[in-house]
């Protein structure tokens, strides 16, 4: 097995130290950083994503795999040249005002990171303005808006309206999620996508950036 294949296996196994070690070895041997990302780190996470979808892996295993991928990323990222990017795209994510729930949102953020996205997690209980500021500051491809309570769902619509009023709505794709949220609701409030779980969110985000 080549070192590259080993990285893939160690990412799947969630071996943080192993991935870091192998990545460093490949870098020292002169492998191209962008190849290490594509054929090693992200390739491993692709397998993880597929297995998770088929219920073959548990959530904590996915998270530790993502952590091991990041251990490799931390080594190769600084070596990328100006034209190259380690990230598939950027996602700004947060829970709307009045809602303190964040487990689902955190899970989506971690799955997105695992798939190679750069994720800016704004946190919880966020006034719509904070989404606007984050869009202006980070220029993301995707904005993810989360709510768990039926009483805070209207704040999702409010957030989208505020993005429109600020003139930044069309710069981004918006996806929404949370237990009471549905595809129908997403359509009603003018979101571009609805994700029922972390792996769907990842699929949708990929479609958005392609």
């Amino acid at each position: 097995m080549s070192k590259m294949e080993n990285i893939v296996e160690e990412v799947i196994a969630g071996n943080v130290a192993g991935v870091a070690e192998l990545t460093q070895e490949l870098v020292d041997e002169g492998a191209k950083p962008s190849d290490i990302i594509k054929d090693g780190l992200v390739a491993g996470m692709d397998v993880v994503g597929g297995r998770f979808k088929k219920n073959e892996m548990f959530v904590p295993e996915v998270l530790i795999a993502a952590k091991s991928m990041h251990a490799g990323m931390d080594i190769v990222k600084p070596l990328l040249t100006d034209g190259e990017s380690s990230s598939v795209g950027t996602v700004v994510i947060g829970t709307v005002e009045g809602d303190l729930h964040d487990i689902g949102k955190n899970l989506v953020a971690m799955m997105l990171e695992g798939a190679g996205f750069e994720v800016i997690d704004l946190g919880i209980d966020l006034p719509a303005d904070e989404f606007v500021e984050a869009v202006k500051e980070h220029q993301p491809d995707v904005v993810g808006i989360s709510a768990l309570l039926t009483t805070t769902m209207p704040a999702m619509e409010e957030t989208i309206k505020t993005l429109e009023e600020a003139g930044v709505r069309d710069q981004v794709k918006i996806m929404v999620g949370g237990a009471p949220v549905s595809q129908e609701f997403a359509n009603e409030i003018g979101a571009d996508g609805y994700a029922a779980d972390g792996s769907t969110a990842t699929d949708i985000a990929r479609e958005f950036v392609n």
């Binding site: 959530v59 303190l100 039926t150 779980d197």
Partner: protein, 471 residues
């Protein structure tokens, strides 16, 4: 109200309970809990708790002193006193599903719930012989504006039933609106005495937090001696440790902090120790209620509440199933029966729910009502006396005879429960193959078509409507 005659054996040993208690006391004292409400923090501080920033730390002495003040049982009052219930002791009080944003029936499928659904489920709950308490967020009427929603819900419960009502947990004003409207049902304009007229569901934000609106509502309820259920819904593995014992400990810390607060505000205020905790399904990260782990939480919660001598809330006819199928049936029976057999005093979510708490099904409501009836009948126990032992009758009939035509049989044949939708007939043809879901569909439509609301004084009705319209 199910009056229980026996109790299943405890799931925890006395040593287990002590260990959970001890760990909870240390966590309350050293780790503390985040209280996102200024007045609540002031109340804690005034009564001797250590408050640093938004964190509140409670010493063992303080917890023991205030938990001791909470009543072991209390009466919840209905506008028809025959429907009053006692929460605590050997009773299991039932309330239907709560909070679901969707409804479904087999003809129209799954959809947003609206006020019409709220009224329909109120009628089904009012007509049930087994549901004691309604109101609250029976289903979420999404077509009603937020500022009127709580009042419209209370009004539906008040108009179409004369049973006990749930109030609002969403902040001070909504809690007070519900108190005022409930008072009108008793011919008053305001809460005037110690009677509990509403019970509301206060949820913690796990791990170790209480949010602003829930605390504001809790304070208001305690001040006016209205009842609250303080409940944690911890998802073991994500918002709590991936062990039943660890999640029970975390839950205990959260719920005890809330109970202490109610008693600091008003010693003796009616409060229930609640839990909807369960495990996270690690393949999907979803909440799972149809699991054996869930019923362990139910039994242990009842036991912990007894340890602190306060009434308990846990369990319900809950399921993870997306449709009214066998899974929905077996999980609901397991979860409801465990709750009663382990002595849970208040069983929310007793009828109608699918997909954990997401959807209320018209057909499932009727099927769950059958489950409640069966468990109630089972819990009535066995009457043993000279007449029922029937020694002389056995001697008289002797070997090889039969009992079908005996007076004793005639006298007792109606002691046994007749099912409302369960099938007991013999197979004769394909036409007999009617599923419980189809029978339940016919049944709920009949109940709603034949429904007659209990009488409500037109003056009171007008006062309620005026109050509601002026919000």
């Amino acid at each position: 109200m199910i009056e229980r005659n026996f109790l299943a054996q405890d799931v925890l040993t006395a040593e287990d309970v002590e260990m959970i208690h001890e760990a909870s006391m240390e966590l309350l004292e050293e780790t503390g809990i985040e209280i996102l409400h200024e007045e609540a923090r002031e109340i804690f501080a005034e009564n001797g708790a250590r408050v640093e920033g938004e964190k509140v730390y409670l010493s063992r002495e303080l917890v023991e002193e205030y938990v001791e003040k909470a009543p072991g049982s209390f009466t919840l009052h209905a506008r028809n006193p025959e429907n009053n219930v006692t929460v605590g002791g050997n009773n299991s009080v039932t309330a239907p599903g709560y909070g679901s944003p969707y409804v479904t029936d087999i003809e129209n499928g799954r959809r947003d719930s609206v006020y019409e659904d709220y009224i329909n489920f109120t009628k089904l709950a009012a007509a049930s012989d087994h549901v004691d308490v309604l109101g609250g967020v029976l289903v979420e009427p999404k077509d009603i504006a937020d500022e009127k929603r709580h009042a419209k819900m209370l009004y539906a419960g008040a108009k179409y039933s004369d049973k006990c009502l749930m109030g609002s947990a969403l902040g001070k004003k909504k809690a007070r609106d519900c108190f005022k409207m409930a008072s009108m049902l008793f011919g008053e304009d305001e809460i005037i005495d110690d009677r509990a007229l509403v019970i509301s569901l206060i949820s913690t934000t796990s791990p170790l937090k209480y949010d602003d609106r829930m605390l504001a509502s809790l304070i208001e309820h305690a001040k006016y001696n209205q009842a609250v259920i303080i409940a944690s819904l911890i998802m073991s593995g994500s918002t709590g440790p991936m062990s039943v014992a660890g999640t029970l400990t975390l839950q205990n810390v959260e719920v005890l902090a809330g109970i202490v607060l109610t008693q600091m505000i008003n010693p003796g205020a009616p409060v229930v120790y609640g839990s909807a905790s369960t495990i996270t399904d690690m393949q999907t990260a979803n909440l799972t209620v149809g699991s054996p782990a869930y019923v362990k939480f139910v039994g242990a919660t009842a036991q912990l509440a007894r340890y602190y001598d306060v009434p308990s809330r846990a369990g319900g006819s809950t399921t993870d199933s997306l449709m009214v199928d066998s899974q929905a049936g077996y999980e609901s029976m397991m979860n409801f029966m465990t709750a009663t057999n382990h002595g849970v005093n208040f069983i929310l979510h007793s009828a109608g729910l699918l997909e954990n708490y997401m959807t209320m099904s018209y057909e499932k409501f009727i099927i769950d009502d059958e489950i409640l009836g069966m468990v109630d009948s089972y819990q009535q126990g066995i009457e043993v006396n000279e007449d029922t032992v029937a020694k002389e009758l056995i001697a008289k009939v002797g070997p090889g005879g039969h009992y079908l035509a005996e007076a004793h049989t005639m006298q007792h044949m109606r002691d046994f429960r007749t099912p409302t939708i369960s099938q007991r007939a013999t197979y004769t043809s394909e036409e007999d193959l009617v599923s419980t879901v189809e029978s339940a569909n016919q049944k709920w439509k009949d109940i709603i078509a034949d429904f007659e609301a209990p009488e409500l004084d037109p003056e009171i009705d007008k006062k309620l409507v005026d109050y509601m319209e002026n919000l």
